[in-house]
Symmetry: C2
């Protein structure tokens, strides 16, 4: 993987870049839709391509448990398995182990957990987290980190951050050792993840020590876990100076459309979030003037599209009344069409952000986003 920094905004930390991977080129800033179980819920790969989705995030934890990473490998790898020939980023499984499974038992070696599917016991080590992702055939992999709940005191946060550092080092060594003869590794990448909860000193130490390990890119983890928005933005600002400029930065699990703008303004290049797809299934739809809840009775006879200024196929074809009808009738097509619209909204937002950066007017986009106060 190679990162190309194209231009930097004059007024903010915003950057415009390009990521070269084995499965194609990604423009940054980028929003990555989430395809947890080897599918972006309700959409075909063809619909994703029509939406101009450039890269997907898939969850190692889910695929490790079902159908199993080795099964996916026997079927030709994750890309072939799910019919997606563009880049895929996989997480390490760490976050899901900490958020979904029960009976976690964390030691320096790794984490023992029970599957949320069938209660079976598994042990995830830093080395296994790499093996799983390599076996899946991921383009961009993540180190296994120790994910802390919010709030956490300084002592717990420091212990967790240091454990994550040790695991990052083991992941990195294992990745290099096992991939030396692997042609794919030349084109894939393993990213480090900065931890340290809300503590500036810990975040700085994490960033600096990960920097010494020379990862090809860095994520900021442990945010969007319940802390106030201003605090999240502040932590990004604290971490950013310690991240090497020539490498991509990825803010994990974030966020609202406004969060994308705020993250970009603070130097972030990559985002992922289930919000557009999950909200879609719940009938919560994004528009440039705020969200609408499609089941609301006021849309019963509304012939207008979700957002008259939106160029997506859903807004060009269907009325709010039809979308409300589908939602109330419990029709699968409701999830499909709402997901298409919400993903288009996110991808359109990120494309506009890119343009504003290119023309050095990103400040205006940011100001407008803040003025709207929506999302």
């Amino acid at each position: 993987m190679r990162f190309e920094l194209i231009t930097k905004d004059k007024n903010t930390r915003a950057r415009r870049g390009r990521l070269h991977t084995a499965h194609g080129v990604i423009e940054t800033p980028i929003f990555m839709p989430v395809g947890t179980q080897a599918t972006v819920k309700s959409l075909t790969p063809e619909q994703l391509r029509d939406l101009q989705v450039e890269i997907l995030l898939c969850n190692s934890y889910h695929l490790f448990l079902r159908p199993g990473h080795e099964s996916v490998a026997r079927l030709g790898g994750l890309h072939k398995f799910m019919g997606w020939n563009r880049p895929i980023l996989t997480d390490s499984g760490g976050y899901q182990v900490f958020s979904l499974s029960s009976l976690r038992d964390v030691s320096e070696d790794g984490v023992r957990f029970r599957s949320h599917l069938d209660g079976s016991t598994h042990f995830l080590s830093p080395e296994l987290a790499i093996d799983v992702q390599q076996t899946l055939g991921s383009d961009i992999m993540m180190i296994l980190d120790d994910c802390l709940a919010y709030p956490a005191d300084h002592f717990a946060a420091e212990r967790s951050m240091k454990r994550s550092l040790a695991w990052a080092d083991r992941c990195n060594r294992h990745w290099i050792a096992t991939g030396q003869n692997d042609e794919r590794q030349k084109h894939s990448a393993l990213l480090g993840i900065v931890q340290g909860s809300i503590y500036g000193d810990l975040r700085r130490e994490s960033a600096e020590r990960l920097g010494a390990m020379d990862f090809p890119g860095y994520a900021i983890g442990g945010l969007a876990v319940g802390e106030p928005k201003p605090l999240m933005y502040e932590i990004i600002e604290q971490v950013e100076p310690y991240l090497p400029e020539e490498k991509p930065r990825y803010l994990m699990g974030v966020g609202t459309p406004a969060d994308l703008a705020e993250g970009v303004a603070r130097g972030v290049d990559m985002f992922d979030c289930v919000m557009p797809t999950r909200h879609a299934r719940n009938g919560w739809l994004f528009t440039k003037s705020g969200h609408i809840v499609i089941k609301h009775s006021k849309y019963k006879d509304d012939p207008e599209p979700i957002d008259a200024s939106c160029g997506c196929i859903v807004c060009r074809t269907y009325s709010r009344a039809y979308l409300r009808h589908l939602f109330l009738a419990g029709e699968i097509l409701s999830s499909v069409l709402n997901t298409i619209h919400n993903l288009y909204f996110y991808l359109d937002t990120i494309r506009r952000i890119r343009q504003f950066i290119e023309f050095h007017h990103f400040n205006e986009f940011l100001t407008e986003t803040r003025r709207m106060g929506a999302h």
Copy 2:
């Protein structure tokens, strides 16, 4: 609506024809996918067009109750509402009233019933059944008929058949009276429905008296309601001689792929059935050598497509293992992909039937279908 009889098979009653409607031309024999609530469950209109679907069936009963036919009309009619610009056939609502609602009270005037959605009481008369379908903007409408459960004795069947005849006459008069100044009516059509349960004398009387009303096409109703298959085929054979050759014949709610072949062999031109779409959502997939149940553990690591001889996008892209994974994971995409495959299978079957008729080899197709004994 105009029906064009192109050719007749030399060895069977099979016919090859063409229906001209306000929303385009349909080749016959035709299979009509069911879009009950103004959506073919899980598919976008674009996916239906990719499948070369020519005409949809929508259910008046469902649309009458939700969102309401007048609401649909205010939104530009059913075609615009659901984003489908090809022909639509609507049923009268009669079958659903008899099969879905509770507390039915049938009189000569019509049928009083309770909504299966909220228990509200409604009264459906022959005239209202026509008004609902005209208000929706249907291309091919059906008369309201009295739908009888199977088995029924001769007395009950005769009473029901005669009531259906009286309703057919009222539907026809109302359709003509209300549509005299309606430009659309020149291009739309109202079809009669032959009833009479399993009794040849009643079926004949129904067909002859409906024939005297000069409908532009005739359906055979009251079949596929639990009677043995040979009996269903026998009744079609009994009715067919009394249906005018120059008008299309529609076998309602039928059936399996083999039923399509058997129906065509007995002179039927049109079919509809929820089987391909409903079975898809349950993971029951059609293949040329019988069906497969995709959740079966033997497909866990199966890299083969559902049917190697199938040309659909699903079979050209995904393994049985992936489709099994989606089904077990409860993913929406499971319903989407399975529906695409099963509909393709039905539409491909009907296209092959057309070709065999054109080349006067339909006998061979029928023999092969019977030899397979599948479906």
